[in-house]
């Protein structure tokens, strides 16, 4: 699985477009990187619709140059099928791009996209998320359309081995009571998912000494603690190299994670639990 962590601190969000006009409404751009997908940023498309090659870009600038592997765009109120392109830059240099079309993500069919780079991109000082006026080949986004974006995520990722017993549980916290007529009286809450799994046997290096390309379970535990977010992507590839975005979209869970205690199995082998509780984007 890919455990995504360590989103860099953001100095600010910007806006650019290949057309003219558009921008954030009401200074709401801080909703893009606050870690709360329900707290949205409101964006206006350019003053002309343009063609399928026209785009508006939401940009994040990082305080330090960081390594990014996974980019997420959550809770977008644009139609499913809209083309988006994630571009990591260092100043004017483009370090890498990945493109996807928006799809309906679980648990509430909120529209979004997960974009995984083939290899981690080091030294990125900014992320540009280009949104094209290309909804399945048609330039159907009108001029001055107002849409909302819940969260823009950019994190580095570490490949971890999971035991085969992981699961993603849907949780519906709505309070349901029965009236005297046995009818449901419901106070609705936003449903979310909870990923729970076990990290399979890790060597001492993998657990403590940076044996996972510089990371280890101990540093990952600290990297996802407190108010930091992470993404658990248990299925992301068929062959361990090529990214399968269908699987990523189906299994990615964004939220607060915990790596549990390291359980000694014998010799220098350990296991641990991993749980991620989702912060869902607003469902439809």
């Amino acid at each position: 699985m890919l455990l995504c962590h360590s989103m860099p601190a953001v100095t600010g969000a910007g806006f650019s477009t290949s057309l003219a006009g558009g921008g954030y409404l009401g200074a709401t751009q801080d909703g893009l990187y606050d870690g709360i997908p329900a707290r949205v940023a409101r964006v206006q498309w350019a003053t002309t619709a343009g063609t399928t090659a026209s785009w508006v870009a939401l940009t994040l600038t990082f305080t330090v140059a960081s390594t990014i592997r996974v980019v997420g765009l959550l809770g977008v109120t644009l139609p499913v099928g809209t083309q988006v392109l994630a571009k990591l830059v260092n100043g004017a240099t483009v370090l890498g791009t990945v493109s996807q079309r928006l799809r309906a993500l679980p648990p509430g069919e909120a529209t979004g996209a997960w974009l995984v780079f083939p290899t981690a991109i080091a030294g990125a000082t900014g992320l540009q998320m280009l949104i094209y006026n290309d909804v399945n080949g048609v330039a159907s986004i009108a001029a001055n359309t107002v849409f909302e974006v819940g969260e823009l995520v950019a994190m580095s990722a570490t490949d971890l081995r999971l035991q085969a017993d992981w699961g993603i549980e849907p949780v519906d916290p709505s309070e349901a009571d029965l009236t005297r007529d046995s009818q449901a009286s419901v106070v609705d809450r936003e449903p979310y998912r909870r990923f729970e799994g076990n990290l399979s046997a890790g060597s001492f290096d993998e657990v403590y000494s940076g044996g996972l390309a510089g990371q280890d379970w101990s540093s990952l535990q600290a990297a996802i603690a407190a108010d930091r977010r992470c993404v658990a992507i248990p299925r992301w590839t068929a062959d361990g190299v090529t990214v399968d975005h269908d699987k990523v979209a189906a299994t990615a869970v964004y939220g607060r994670g915990t790596i549990g205690r390291f359980v000694h199995q014998g010799g220098d082998i350990f296991t641990a639990t991993l749980a991620v509780q989702e912060s869902p984007a607003r469902s439809l």
Binding site: L25, G26, T28, A38, V40, V146, T179, S185, V187, R282
Partner: protein, 657 residues
Amino acid sequence: MARQYARFDNATIGSGLVATDGGLVITTTLNSTSRSRMARSTFSLDGVGYGAEFVFWGDATSLLASVGLVLAATGLNAEVGVAAGSVGWRLDSGEIRLSGTVVTSGLSPVGKGQIVGVQFVESPGFAYSVRFSVDGTNVAEITLPSKQWHFAVSLASATAGQLSAAVNAGQWPARGAAAAAGWQAALAPVLTQFYADRHWLSATTDNPANTRYEGAIVDEGLEELQRVGFWPWADAVSPRPTGGQVRIHDPDGRLIGLDASQASVLVKTVDRDGTLASATTVSRFMVDTIEVLDDGYVRLRLRDPHDALDEPLNAAVFLPYVPALAWKAQPVVIGACASVPLLAANSDGSVGFLADSALGHVDLVMDRGDPLESGTWSLTSDGQQLFLDSPPLGPVLADVTTIAGSSMTPATLSQTLHRIFSRVGFAAWSKTDTDAIDTATGYAGVGVYIGSEARSARQVRDQVLGWYCASTWQSATGVMRTVRLIAPEAVAAVSELQAAQLDSDLVWAYDQAPNLSRRMGYRPNAQTMGSADFVTDVVDVPMSRRAELMQAFRGVVYSAVALHARYDAADRRDPVPSGFWRREDAQAEIDRVCGLYAVERRFYTWTGRLTTGLPAIGDVVTVYYPAYGMDAGRKLLVVALQPNRATGRVMIRFWGA
């Protein structure tokens, strides 16, 4: 935060003047007719609306006084208006000077006892103007630049101590517009903060547009309580009919430093995809207290927003130029009052004050209980004082009313509440409700007297409403509504509630009516007489009349309607007080209330979830329930509501048979 009114101060006063009585009064201390000295306010202001009033008195033959505004840098041993950086009006010569130059002249001379007003007013093209007025009539306006101005008074008298001035910076009721806003220290404005129980942005078409409502209201939402109480019940008229509480996630501490006394709360409900313009206002509050629960959470306790009702109704005082009554609170008369005491103002008691506002009619004046013959007394032109031809022995009591006419006309409920609320500047109340009560009852009305004890508008309002067996609640927009206790089975229901909507069982309890009484006292004596206060003549003042004047009420009525056996104790309880003037009104009212208890009454508690169709207090609702004989519905009166606006859960308390 307590209000701060400006006053004079001995630290900022010219030589030859002294400030006394807490800085409210200044007096001359030198034998000099030179006005080159001034006393100025403790703090300065700069803005439209602020103002103050002044009054002058003393034995000096001429009113050598100047009133106006000065800058802080102006020296104190100069005259207001003559010194640079000041504008002043010489009251005896009718000239207004701006930094020494006469800019207006020919104004009528002002006399002692007249009230001079100084106020900042709007002036197109300029920062503002200062408006001078006398007894509420404007006399001149002078444009001024925007600076921090103090008000100031210069006095002089040939003999020391013979001229004094007092200032009303809003602490007393204003005579005119000048002191209406007063000269008060500006309170720090509160920054508007937006919260919701889900993260929400207002629409692009709203005003304010694209505003973020932080989703920091914790799950249990906003709990509100609204209730009314009536005098037969254990909990009588509730002083604060509305309250609420809400818990907010506030890790940044944005709410902790809030000045709660200035923070008002407006609560609306809206669809997730809706606009602010289409949102429904559900309640208005003021923040009562902010509790810090822990590092992350704060609880706001909310109360009804009618702060003006806590102002004292009898704020006016007698100034020292009536030495017998100096600093005593002026009595308040509203409607028809019996046995109002005459406050003697001069040495032999032949002139006295009755009320702080003009009376419409004085019916009877009694000296030691013996009525004075007509022609031997008269009401002054200001309608507040009596002249008696001969000095009385005292106590002198009078039957008076504020309603103009040739007989004792009491004030209806609407008239009484209007007078109470206009005294404290409270306007958010529904006159339609009180007019409806006046029409439905047809009572002539009531009277209220307040002597020296401090009574707030809220206390007097609750007292008057209690006489009509009425209570108040607050509508969604913060307007004070009035409702009477009525028999719900006798009126049409406005809505219904089905058993299917209940979350738990309907529970009821008997209304024990612990304060119900068959007797009602009417026409209260503003001041009761003692047995030694009467004349010895028992023909002019017979024993029955003496008893009337010695009791708390002139009369008591008894209701003979049949009561349910549960309420037998009503026979043995003390009379319930009322302010009705006419005996028939009191009789009709006590008959009406006792008539409600001819059947056994109960309180019902209904708990459910209502997203629409929440009844209001005072509504009569048909409630269906498969028990207690309520299969076919029973009409009940809503007397308390405890809704949770976020979850839709509500607890409704009903009253009925």
